[in-house]
């Protein structure tokens, strides 16, 4: 791991009018690290993720990102063109609902190739080759490359969405409930795949989930949120095996045992 964090989040607060979205959240994310944000519905997880990933301007606080040249830049003080460029090259965003992150009316190959074309790749053969290779990495058969995602199952769509995000070799990936809406066996395969990719590519990731099992499998560190605040923060195994806050204890003890 590197000496400098990849992302510095400082006192990020988001109010919706007088209602709290999240308050005073600060943390650093290091290269190659996966951070899980857990908590119940309405605890501010998604608000925080959106505030960090520049989808939602926070009321106060700063988010700084270390660019490839090593300089930290405040995301909300960047020009929009630069920020959008960053989002589609150096970042990925995996939505809970694949339809939000995919173009449902163009083929799988074009979905994966879109980011390549966006950064100026103009060679059809190369784009297609790269797309084929990425479909293979997310375990989608190469002969599905010209099919539209609406012909895909939920699990395949989610894998396609991941391939589409990773094709430009991002350093940071945001995931909002990546396994939501999938059945357990598909979830398990997807988690396995994501864990493999994160390790192989040395990605950093912020994963929002209400599923503690996902956090256990994927993340190195986790933050527990309640009513917009981070109430507990630590290594995943420590938080799950030795929860300190009463709410975290409740959360951990609520996991169904089969």
């Amino acid at each position: 791991m590197n000496d400098h964090p990849l992302l510095r989040v400082n006192a990020v607060t988001k109010y919706y009018g007088s209602r709290v979205g999240c308050t005073d959240v600060s943390f650093n994310l290091w290269p190659g690290e996966v951070l899980a944000i857990v908590g119940e519905s309405g605890s501010g997880k998604t608000t925080l993720l959106n505030a960090i990933s520049t989808n939602l301007m926070p009321t106060s606080g700063t988010v700084e990102y270390r660019m490839r040249d090593g300089q930290f830049r405040d995301l909300y003080r960047m020009g929009e063109a630069e920020r959008r460029f960053l989002m589609r090259t150096d970042w990925g965003f995996v939505h809970q609902n694949p339809a939000d992150g995919l173009r449902m009316t163009v083929s799988a190959g074009a979905n994966v190739g879109e980011r390549l074309m966006a950064i100026g790749n103009r060679h059809y053969g190369n784009i297609r080759q790269e797309a084929t290779q990425w479909l293979g990495r997310v375990e989608i058969d190469a002969d599905r490359i010209d099919d539209q995602p609406r012909d895909f199952s939920g699990g395949m769509r989610q894998r396609l969405q991941i391939a589409r995000n990773l094709v430009t070799g991002p350093r940071l990936v945001f995931m909002d409930e990546p396994t939501g809406g999938l059945d357990v066996s598909v979830q398990a395969r997807l988690l396995d795949l994501v864990r493999g990719l994160v390790n192989d590519l040395g990605l950093s990731a912020i994963v929002v989930t209400h599923d503690l099992a996902v956090a256990r499998l994927l993340s190195h560190r986790m933050m527990v949120m309640k009513e917009g605040r981070v109430i507990e923060h630590g290594l995943t195994d420590r938080v799950l095996d030795d929860p300190r806050e009463p709410y975290t204890q409740l959360l951990v003890s609520s996991i169904l045992q089969v």
């Binding site: 163009v106 879109e114 950064i119 059809y124 784009i127």
Partner: protein, 296 residues
Amino acid sequence: MNKHSELAVYNFAYLDEQTKRMIRRAILKAIAIPGYQVPFASREMPMPYGWGTGGVQVTASILGPDDTLKVIDQGADDTTNAVSIRAFFQKVAHVAVTTKTAQATIIQTRHRIPEETLQDNQVLVYQVPIPEPLRFLEPRETETRKMHALEEYGLMHVKLYEDIARNGHIATTYAYPVKVEGRYVMDPSPTPKFDNPKMHRSQALQLFGAGREKRIYAIPPYTDVVSLDFEDHPFEVQQFEEPCALCAASGVYLDEVVLDDRGGRMFVCSDTDYCEKRRENGHRGHLNGETAGAAK
């Protein structure tokens, strides 16, 4: 004053002067930013949307009493749309009209660029149904505007990629997207891609009016207009296997005309003025005489 005096209720060229000023301002802005779609307050015209309300408003705003107007629809001067618009301006502006490309100062067109090279004293006005080239992939107007502003044109190539993936080659044959002066990606209206190379560094000013969508855009004279493509699938225009059946012209855009119900067909110039001019000059196609005479 003259026999048209009962029409005095209409201002010259139908539109009132304030409206013309507004449209001229939009046109000037469009010329200043080649390929950029300038919003304008499109008016109701005495014709349905889709029949050229945008083109008519642009023509009405730039038309002067000394202009000579030519109107073509799919290259032809004698189709309904062309005849009606020509008659409209004869009635409301009393301008001279012509079917000869070289004599016209303003040419309003639907779907074609004349075969004859346009000169620097001519203006070509296009009727545009859907001005936004990104529309079919990105339905949100806010987002497409942002994409134009930030020059995010990867999506345009996604469309071409889909074409190749499905058909093995770029199958877009009309409304083929172009990049204007290295900056804005523009829809050249539903002209066949055959005409795209004619837009490149054209001497004539080219104006585009979309009435329903309320947009005007322009290509000033001598502006670079480059059709988008892939390195391994370069842009190419349609090729025709035989010359025009009436005037034997090759290297021009041809229309297919069905002659009977037994598979008989002929290919003729889509640009009627060009075809007539060639026939006057003695060029003869293989069907000229018999079939053309029989069809009359």
